[in-house]
Subunit: 311 residues, 2 copies
Amino acid sequence: MDERAALALLADELEYAGDDAAVVDDLVVTTDMLHETTDFPAGTTRYTAGWRAVGASLSDVAAMGAEAVVAVAAYAAPEFDGEDLLAFVRGARDVCDLVGADYVGGDLDGHDEFTVTTTAIGRLENDPVPRSGATRGDLLCVTGTLGRSAAALEYFALAQDGGGGGDEGKDEGKDENNNERANELFQFEPRIEAGRALAPHATAMMDSSDGLARSLHQLGEASGCGFEVDASHVPIAESLRDVTETADEALERATTFGEDFELVVTIPEGALEAVRKATPVPISVLGSVVPHEDGITMDGEPLPDRGFTHG
Amino acid sequence: MDERAALALLADELEYAGDDAAVVDDLVVTTDMLHETTDFPAGTTRYTAGWRAVGASLSDVAAMGAEAVVAVAAYAAPEFDGEDLLAFVRGARDVCDLVGADYVGGDLDGHDEFTVTTTAIGRLENDPVPRSGATRGDLLCVTGTLGRSAAALEYFALAQDGGGGGDEGKDEGKDENNNERANELFQFEPRIEAGRALAPHATAMMDSSDGLARSLHQLGEASGCGFEVDASHVPIAESLRDVTETADEALERATTFGEDFELVVTIPEGALEAVRKATPVPISVLGSVVPHEDGITMDGEPLPDRGFTHG
């Protein structure tokens, strides 16, 4: 049984399954486990790992339209290196500070693989924004840009491969720069503020952690709708353009790679101006909500359900 | 660096470190990672694992004197067996139901070892009960009995060893009974209701998950006090007496084994009657709070800081 089949099985048992975070009273709660081999490429610093792991959970809180209150992490590693541990905690705390949440530590644990579970808790002022409310005619929008994480992976790979040939000292410096750039791209701002600004208008929302294409399939399934996307409106990150050779390649990676933690959201057409005024990051209009039978298309072609499958 | 040294290092970084759960506004939050090899003996059913993992986090909420609101779990296993998964979820949900919390699922994840991280969130009506408020002359009390988990381990071991010699069929039946008994003992009631009843009176409180002896050392360090314990007042579980040969052995296991998730609490002497009336489980008075320089003693002998070190 794969993860999606298992989730489907549990949907019958757990009434809260199937959104970015669970809602209980005015609280939203979300938890995620990450592993070194699947989630932290070689070269990821512990500071970046702390930032990213906690940031991913905060992004789920953002996708519900909630305020971020607190995050915890359970940190497991083969040994507790003081510097590693402090770097992780500082990364976790810095991303929390950025969105006004408290990072309060958690559990330490011995384990053969570096493994982190983060949990974030948010508080709702309005109703939570579900995945299921997208309505025909709504605008399909996304915050920020897509492709930063895909670009980061390229820089991690470059840093690991090394220069090859030429002056060794120079190549080492280059590797270090590439690794630094990768870590920088891997740190992202969870869209808490944007989520709260979007919440009063949004009919459906989720984060783009599985990639835009997969997110649209998930929103489409939850809302019983299709989407038409204009490829020229997909906001491709500059950093991704820098590491891809063609515009098609960049578009492909921007739509399917995922791990960008932007918000994918549907809003009534009339709300766009208000949303843009209230939201601190750029909002791109990718297209619109269409009937379910029209499917999910980009420039008239089916956009398949491909994307990042979280390990 | 071991876990305790690492925790000490982090105490400077995290103002919330060092209690059973962190407090943010009126919320308490706690997270724990558990692994098959260190936390779930062979024979532990997934139902029991779900119960126990979530129960351990709920116990931390109880130790703060808070109401239990919601729990989540991240569940990682080499493969997703539908029956295993449902059993886990049912165990998790049943222990939540028992204390009035919502179990809302969480994350599924592939991993080489069965690993679970649970997070529980509680809400405070009063101030949280810290570990640091024990005052000279206070009574030292514990809820329920100690030794159920130690007894469970004996039954697990018996079931695994098999009968040895004699009729095989009969021994298999015996193994099954021992395993069932072990699982039953491994399921415990988190002391949420007791914690809330104790909270208005308690000067210091924590759960006994590291064993009574270690808990007293931790409370003593946090409160700057010592304790004198009367061995004859330690409430030893019947199930532990059944599997130990001498009273001394039973006492030793009851004070050092841990994993029982009872509440260790100090209260002013005058509050005992009110506490006993309000608390739904028996409260044993083990002894009293003494000056720090008198140390931690049982029947006049030093009670060393030995106990369960969580992996």
